[in-house]
Amino acid sequence: MINKKCPSAAEAVADVPDGAVVMVGGFGASGSPIELIHALIDQGAKDLTLINNNTGNGEVGLAALIANGQVSKMICSFPRSSQSKVFPALYRAGKIELELVPQGTLAERIRAAGAGIPAFYTPTTVGTVLAEGKETREFDGRTYVMEPWLKADFALIKCEVADPLGNLTFNKTARNFSPIMCMAATTTVVQTRKLVAAGDIDPEHVVTPGIFVNRIVDVPSPVHEDTLIAAGRSYP
């Protein structure tokens, strides 16, 4: 039987090379694959381009990966929040590059990569500074901007339930970018709260079909970014 289970988070991210483009699921704290991110901190890959809606909070997870000097470029829609301190400091110091992408365009570019669509047109950013230098075009009398797909070498994803074939379900709004990131990465690594047998997920309820998943790590009691921050934790 096909079994995509990987013994540990460390093994699952062992081959992320320096310079890799890495998508990380989650919207703020919700859906952030903390254990996989921390494994990537331990692994030490450098010069990464990171794709996430935000830039992490506190000194754990995404923020810790950035603080550890492993990220040279961030692609996101909202790089600051009340609890994000790491990215702003590095950005102001000129030590990290930022590609700011509106949230819907970010999602659609990721989905396009997974769907084999190299570019599409969107009304978002028309008439703003974020459209500067971009190709525009009229359809039915309205102006649109052309946007390219956004691919990744790896995606690090947190899910709720997985089976050995890689079928996934998510928990509430922790779903967010994760299903489309699974589609857009060459290698998709998923940490799951619950690993069940093939057939235990109703085929009608599968959110991410296994074809988009390469490796599954069993993390039955994942830590939550909000909880770590409230406890004043940092990593490593």
């Binding site: 919207f27 703020g28 704290a29 919700s30 859906g31 809606n53 829609s77 909202f78 790089p79 600051r80 929040s81 990215f87 702003p88 950005y91 102001r92 930022l98 700011l100 509106p102 949230q103 819907g104 365009t105 970010l106 999602a107 659609e108 990721i110 989905r111 969107t122 009304p123 978002t124 950013t125 028309v126 008439g127 703003t128 500074v129 974020l130 998510f170 928990n171 509430k172 709004t173 922790a174 779903r175 967010n176 970018f177 994760s178 299903p179 489309i180 959110v207 939550h224 909000d226 909880t227």
Partner: protein, 215 residues
């Protein structure tokens, strides 16, 4: 100026102009108060960008689900009949014109409907746009709820936005502490004055020509 509407009254007034059964996306700040002032006999369905339709009120502190938040990263609940979906589907709802009303706060709004609410353009600011540019281009009607002037008394309703735009010509109606103002082909026009507020007071607090209410 003691006359005019409170934050709650502004939200309540905006809620009056949202039709029954509307799919509504609310920005952070005063717009969030709208959920408390839904007119009797109407029902709105709330969408939040991070993948929830049918968003309910905040939970009690001991009933928080860490995986159930809104786009402002606040804990929320899901009402009966809610649905979860991923980000590409969520922004299909926005960009595809399926959301009826979006109510936003703003830094500036111009007489031609331009809105600037994402960046001051200051060179040392960390730019952050989130879903604002998608919302203003995709949602059928864009309402703005805002104080009529800044804390330092500068007009927020202006002839031309000095801050970088979120989107051009997208706002249809503005609810301030002083008045309800429409964006018309002829520029700003008062639709309704807050109690105790005169048209002259509104005119003076507005950074662009503004027309009085049509009789």
């Amino acid at each position: 100026m003691s006359a005019g509407w409170t934050r709650e009254e502004m939200a309540a007034r905006a809620a009056q102009d949202i039709p029954d059964g509307s799919y509504v996306n609310l920005g952070i700040g005063i717009p969030e108060l709208i959920t408390q002032f839904v007119p009797e006999g109407r029902e709105f369905i709330y969408h939040t960008e991070n993948g929830l339709l049918g968003m309910g009120p905040p939970p009690a502190d001991d009933e928080r689900d860490l995986d159930l938040m809104n786009a402002g990263k606040k804990y929320v609940t899901a009402l009966p009949g809610a649905a979860y979906f991923h980000h590409a589907d969520s922004f299909s709802m926005i960009r595809g014109g399926h959301i009826d009303v979006c109510v936003l706060g703003t830094m500036q709004v111009a007489a031609n409907g331009d809105i600037a609410n994402w960046s001051t353009g200051a060179p040392d600011a960390i730019p952050a746009v989130g879903g604002a540019m998608d919302l203003v281009q995709g949602v059928k009607r864009i309402f703005v709820v805002t104080q009529h002037t800044t804390k330092t008394g500068d007009p927020k309703l202006v002839d031309k936005c000095s801050y970088p735009l979120t989107g051009p010509g997208v706002v249809s109606r503005i609810f301030t502490n002083l008045a309800v103002v429409d964006v018309t082909p002829d520029g700003f026009q008062v639709v309704e004055l807050a109690p105790g507020v005169t048209f002259e007071e509104v005119e003076q607090a507005t950074g662009a020509p503004i027309l009085p209410r049509t009789e």
